[in-house]
């Protein structure tokens, strides 16, 4: 691996890992790497849950399954990363998003949420929080970030571990009500802001030692959605720098404009 020569302040070496949601960040960086002069960024993308197979072994992130190895090779032309090579690790997306709060919301409600369906069982907010926390810890991204943090700590490194929230679905998802029933319902009942607050607090609590990068404030809509302009033109996670657009009815991925804001957050957070 070669790093750019240092001409100013030392660049911070950052490894950004993620599933399909990493494509927005990758596209932003590929379009204008000079916008973040303090960062030297590498990407480790994996389709689906390929990153679930990434474990720390001997100070390196190494896939544990053949399928994950093949996918990482295809997308990144490499399959392992040494923890010592980076000043910061950022997990992007990987299921750590507002849906983690939607899971308990389907069956339970606490005082402060709308009464909702009769089938929703009253629970304490503390227990609801705990359920969301557990969802975050068990998620692909939460578990990966915690594994990396543990590896960094075992190696005695000072590297920072961050997790950038998976963008909330575009508000245009109301064009597909069937698929986004839960979120649209929460929005309609006025529960969006409370759910977002619960989710963010739970994510922070579930990931001690990990810097939480919440969805940039200006990109949000109604608590649980993203403003459509940050979703239009999103691209798929592809090998190298290939750009293939998502279909118009993809409402869950963000675009490069959004990705640039995430890179701004990373640049501001890296020590």
């Amino acid at each position: 691996m070669t790093w750019q020569p240092m001409t100013g302040p030392p660049e911070r070496r950052v490894l950004i890992l993620g599933n399909s949601h990493i494509a927005a960040v990758k596209a932003a960086y590929g379009s204008a790497p000079d916008r973040w002069p303090g960062l030297a960024v590498q990407f480790a993308g994996g389709h689906g849950d390929a990153l679930a197979a990434l474990q720390v072994q001997g100070g390196r992130l190494v896939p544990q399954t053949e399928a994950a190895r093949d996918n990482l090779q295809l997308l990144n032309r490499r399959e392992a990363w040494s923890l010592a090579d980076y000043d910061a690790f950022v997990v992007v997306g990987c299921e750590v998003g507002i849906y983690r709060a939607l899971v308990p919301y389907r069956s339970a409600r606490f005082l402060g949420l709308s009464p909702g369906a009769a089938a929703a069982v009253p629970v304490s907010r503390a227990m609801f929080d705990l359920a969301v926390r557990d969802q975050v810890t068990q998620s692909l991204g939460g578990a990966l970030a915690l594994r990396i943090l543990a590896g960094v700590q075992v190696g005695g490194q000072m590297a920072q571990v961050m997790l950038a929230e998976q963008p909330r679905p575009s508000f245009d998802c109301r064009r597909n009500r069937r698929r986004f029933t839960g979120l649209l319902r929460a929005h309609r009942l006025g529960d969006g802001a409370v759910l977002a607050e619960v989710f963010e607090a739970a994510a922070r609590a579930a990931l001690p030692g990990i810097t939480w990068l919440a969805q940039p404030e200006d990109t949000r809509h109604g608590g649980v959605f993203t403003q459509p302009r940050y979703s239009v033109g999103s691209v798929r996670l592809m090998p190298g720098n290939r750009r293939v657009a998502h279909s118009e009815d993809d409402f869950i991925h963000a675009n490069a404009e959004y990705g640039a804001l995430v890179l701004d957050q990373i640049a501001a957070a890296v020590p």
Binding site: L111, P122, V123, A126, M127, F128, L130
Partner: protein, 351 residues
């Protein structure tokens, strides 16, 4: 010459029934009067030991009711800490018969009161079941919101229950003098503040226990006309006594009263049965082997033996395995037997 002892079976004699028998294989201790089958809808409640009973019944495929299953996915340990899956409702441990009477009356009336909300460090607790929300609640309103839902859920469950299995645990309790309300734990232990002017110690007497059992049975039958009852006494000794004496005589006093009250009550009612958990674990032939090193925690072997005796007598299974409630592993705290027991908190105050 013939006399009443000449035709008695072997179990009627100490030598053949006990001294010459493996204490883990005592027979004929329990001949069920109240029969249950796999389809019988059962509700369970009581002290910590009752958690073993509910789990064993579920393990044997018996239809144990659960009025309040965990509505969200939580790890098992967390769900249990929040009072889910321990009994047929999220009432936590019901140590005294008076507590049961009080709860059943609350279910009937649906009444909740802010007077029974405890505070600790800015968090709020249901004084009548403070252990079921270990992190506390945000406000007194949230406590009452959840208590209303709890009582409503119990009402539906009790209307379905065919047999109510109740494990009697303690006679000692703390009472709120102005209202007569009995607490699950002494105020100040989990939350709230102990007030010597209001909070008085009470050791229930035999007549009180008998009267409370009558009340409880009547209340249960107000939810379902032909509900039957199985009583048992927890073999677990007291963690601490506030009676002023040594904990051993205090334990013996409590257990003796509970045993007599349960036995007499069962004998007086065709639809009430008594199952001898207490005797199976504490009898002299066992030589204390059914207790862990702390002489209080009941061993996994004992739980298995007790439940096998119950289920076997009921014709439900030959034997039952209860791995999840296994007793402490070597090197692990012997108190950690997987049960949720608020009274263990009293041990913290030991000097």
């Amino acid at each position: 010459m013939s006399h009443p002892y000449s035709d008695l079976p072997p179990e009627a004699f100490w030598r053949s029934g006990v001294a010459e028998t493996d204490p883990a294989a005592l027979t004929a201790l329990y001949v069920p009067k109240v029969r249950i089958g796999p389809q019988t809808r059962i509700a369970t409640a009581g002290s910590c030991f009752a958690q073993h009973i509910g789990r064993a019944l579920r393990g044997a495929g018996v239809a144990v009711l659960d009025a309040e299953p965990a509505p969200v996915a939580l790890p098992d340990e967390a769900a249990r800490a929040f009072g889910y899956g321990l009994f047929s409702g999220r009432y936590g441990n019901i140590y005294t018969v008076r507590q049961l009477v009080q709860l059943l009356r609350d279910v009937q009336s649906g009444d909740v009161s802010e007077a029974f909300v405890w505070e600790k460090d800015g968090r709020f607790y249901d004084a009548l079941r403070p252990g079921v929300e270990p992190l506390g609640m945000d406000s007194p309103e949230e406590v009452l919101f959840l208590r209303r839902a709890h009582l409503k859920a119990l009402g539906k469950m009790l209307a379905e229950a065919e047999v109510f299995v109740f494990t009697l645990g303690l006679t000692e309790a703390w009472i709120d003098q102005p209202t007569g309300r009995v607490f699950q734990t002494c105020p100040g232990v989990i939350a709230g503040q102990f007030d010597p002017e209001c909070h008085v110690f009470h050791n229930f007497t035999l007549p009180e226990l008998r009267a409370d059992l009558e009340l409880a049975f009547g209340l249960l039958r107000s939810f379902r006309k032909r509900m039957r009852m199985i009583l048992t006494v927890s073999p677990v000794p007291l963690t601490a006594t506030a009676s002023g004496g040594h904990v051993i005589p205090a334990t013996m006093h409590s257990k003796a009263l509970l045993r007599v009250a349960a036995g007499e009550f069962a004998a007086a009612h065709a639809d009430v049965d008594y199952f001898p958990s207490y005797e199976l674990v504490t009898n002299p032939a066992a030589r204390g082997r059914f207790f862990e090193a702390n002489q209080r925690t009941v061993t996994a072997e004992a739980v298995q033996m007790v439940m096998a005796a119950f289920l076997g007598a009921q014709g439900l299974v030959e034997a039952v395995s209860i791995p999840a409630m296994a007793s402490a592993e070597p090197g692990k705290d012997a108190e950690d037997d997987g049960l949720i027991c608020e009274d263990l908190l009293l041990d913290v105050f030991r000097q």
